[in-house]
């Protein structure tokens, strides 16, 4: 079992440029053995480039990349115990599924019977035991992606890099594979670096999440930290849905403060994240934290609003609200059902907001 205290991966001030363009800027990051780290960020922010630096396809222009304590900045990819699931699958088109999965083992000169067994196991893990003799072009996108996954895990590398490994799967299959991956990672004690653009996936699976923007790490923390305590407007906005409201601080009162939104609506927030001299703040409110009712609830902030639009989302309804002052919000409520009251467009409702559910993400 690997030692979970020891860092398995370390980036020390890594910068990577492509010509004039800086894809990764001064990234420092430590991933512990057995940890599940997710890189999350918009397209083109440098996630794949970070993985490539780890896998050895790129050399850093500045800084060091350490694997298991050893500087590998100039070690070629085939000498690193790191395997990758490629964003584009990168299956060898001339090899069957079995041959694809067995490639890494062949390169390690694993004896045939053992290899055979491991391939079988890996294919079973991704539910493709039956398809071992197909060629990649005979499979659907989702199946291919699973082959790519099996090909990487069969090598049992110390570090597994997964570049959007589930993006081609429909929600059903995706959920199944998420659980499977997580189980695998725990069982083998592997270190995972995972890239996704699906935030729910990130929140569900990761030990820690790094929010990347323009080649920089914007925030690093576990799922609840990232979700409940975004540090920057970008992080707040990028993860989940957020109502981002800019406000003026008009009153400080012990551990609380009152802020006024542009429309005039006043809200009470906690002072924890408010530096002393700040006069302006950006407040983030998660839609599901806004409690909707026909009657006002007991909370620091209560105000009335009208439902402008109701959008059915399956398990939840999204409500677009406008307060009497003119501030627009959106909120989530459980969908209409036997036990749940229904709200409709045009209804006037009470919104209640708990003090701790208003998060300050930026001050001035």
């Amino acid at each position: 079992m690997p030692d979970p205290a020891k860092p398995m991966i370390e980036f020390r001030g890594v910068t990577k440029r492509f010509g004039a363009f800086t894809a990764v800027r001064d990234v420092s990051l430590t991933v512990n053995t057995g940890e599940f780290l997710t890189l999350l960020g918009p397209s083109g922010c440098g996630k794949t480039t970070l993985l490539r630096l780890l896998a050895g396809f790129e050399t850093p222009d500045e800084g060091l990349v350490l694997l298991d304590g050893e500087d590998v900045s100039h070690v070629p990819p085939y000498r690193r115990s790191v395997n990758q699931v490629f964003q584009s699958y990168a299956l060898f088109p001339h090899m069957t599924v079995k041959e694809n999965v067995g490639f890494g083992l062949r390169m390690q000169n694993i004896p045939a019977p053992e290899a055979e067994a491991r391939i079988k196991e890996a294919l079973a893990t991704v539910s493709l035991a039956e398809q071992a003799d197909k060629l990649p072009h005979q499979m659907s996108g989702g199946q291919r992606q699973r082959v790519a996954l099996a090909r990487a895990i069969v090598c049992r590398p110390k570090v597994l890099l997964l570049d959007e490994p589930l993006s081609a799967l429909d929600a059903k299959l995706r959920h199944g594979m998420q659980l499977e991956l997580k189980r695998l990672q725990r069982k083998l004690g592997l270190t995972f670096v995972f890239v996704t653009h699906d935030q729910e996936e990130a929140l569900t699976m990761s030990d820690r999440i790094a929010i990347i923007n323009h080649g920089r790490i914007e925030q690093l923390g576990n799922a609840t930290e990232i979700y409940h305590r975004p540090r920057t407007p970008f992080a707040a906005d990028f993860i989940g849905q957020a109502n981002l409201l800019s406000a003026e601080i008009i009153l400080r009162n012990g551990s609380k403060a009152t802020v006024r939104l542009d429309t005039g609506l006043e809200l009470v927030v906690a002072c924890t994240d408010l530096p002393v001299g700040a006069t302006k703040a950006l407040v983030s409110i998660r839609p599901e934290k806004i409690h909707i009712g026909r009657t006002p609830a007991i909370a620091e902030n209560v105000f009335q609003a009208k439902i402008e639009e109701e959008i059915f989302q399956g398990a939840t309804d999204q409500l677009r609200l406008i307060t009497d002052q003119g501030t627009r919000f959106h909120a989530l409520v459980a969908n209409e059902s036997a036990t749940q009251e229904a709200y409709h467009e045009g209804d006037r409702v009470y919104c209640s907001l708990h003090l701790d559910d208003l998060v300050i993400v930026q001050t001035e």
Binding site: A55, G56, F57, E58, H74
Partner: protein, 268 residues
């Protein structure tokens, strides 16, 4: 969709160096004889054997050698026309064979390969017999027919290789947006095939510029191409005038390339 990542990844430094060095050596190999003939085009000795002294004499004599100039002109005419025809025939053929399932696709495909494998002398003689039988007067037409026959398959093969990687949705998108099949081909497919068309066209041009044996048989005296003239002059040993001619050709080409790239840069 990952960003395009050209080149060998920077993590594979050694491989990078090897490839670069090797390519350099091969280009040295390709250009060694070219360098020699450029140098000897300034050699005062008529025999290409030892360096005597520097002279422009061969260039001067070249410019007054009307038959040679005419042959060069003929060559350019023949190569240009047959390249154009080859590109048209080869590209259209490749597209149609790729795009549609014709009944005799495979047979046609094999037929296309025959001129590539046919020894030139056989092609030359049999075409000559055909032309003489059919009463076609030998001249530019017969030469161009000969050249197109063996060079369009090269274009076809090059374009076909490229087509295999082309997203069929591109054509569909064009049709979907209201383009007729012909317009879709011209406005969308042809531009997408450009690299292959250029490579194929280059091969066709090169083959035509360098073709001797077929031409010897199907040319008339007035349509003799440069290789025919060069062969007449050079099969008894190298003539520095020919060196001069080659040097001019190569320098003109390189200059042309640099110039057109410069123009491209300007227009951007």
């Amino acid at each position: 969709m990952p960003a395009p990542r050209p080149l060998i990844p920077s993590g594979l430094t050694l491989l990078n160096w090897f490839l670069r060095g090797w390519t350099g050596l091969v280009f040295a190999f390709l250009y060694a004889p070219i360098a020699v003939l450029v140098v000897f085009s300034f050699n005062s000795s008529r025999l290409n054997i030892v360096w005597e002294s520097f002279t422009f004499n061969w260039y001067e004599r070249l410019l007054t050698n009307a038959p040679l100039i005419k042959a060069a002109k003929n060559s350019l005419i023949v190569a240009s026309i047959s390249t154009i025809l080859s590109v048209v025939l080869g590209t259209a053929g490749a597209w149609l064979l790729h795009r549609y399932r014709f009944r005799f696709s495979r047979a046609i495909q094999t037929l296309v390969a025959i001129p590539m494998v046919m020894p030139e002398i056989l092609l030359g003689i049999s075409l000559l017999i055909l032309f003489v039988t059919a009463g076609l007067k030998l001249g530019f037409t017969s030469v161009i027919i000969g050249h197109v026959t063996f060079s369009f398959p090269f274009v076809l093969v090059a374009v076909q290789a490229r087509l295999q990687g082309l997203d069929p949705a591109l054509e569909e998108a064009a049709l979907d947006l209201g383009a007729s099949p012909l317009k879709a081909f011209w406005l969308v497919i042809v531009p997408c095939l450009r690299p292959a068309i250029i490579a194929g066209g280059l091969m066709a041009f090169t083959l035509s510029m360098d073709e001797l044996i077929v031409t010897v048989f199907v040319k008339s005296a007035a349509s003799a191409t440069l290789p025919v003239k060069v062969f007449d002059m050079a099969r008894v040993g190298l003539n520095p005038m020919l060196n001069a001619l080659s040097a001019i050709f190569i320098i003109a080409t390189v200059a042309f390339v640099l110039f057109s790239e410069y123009l491209k840069k300007l227009s951007r």
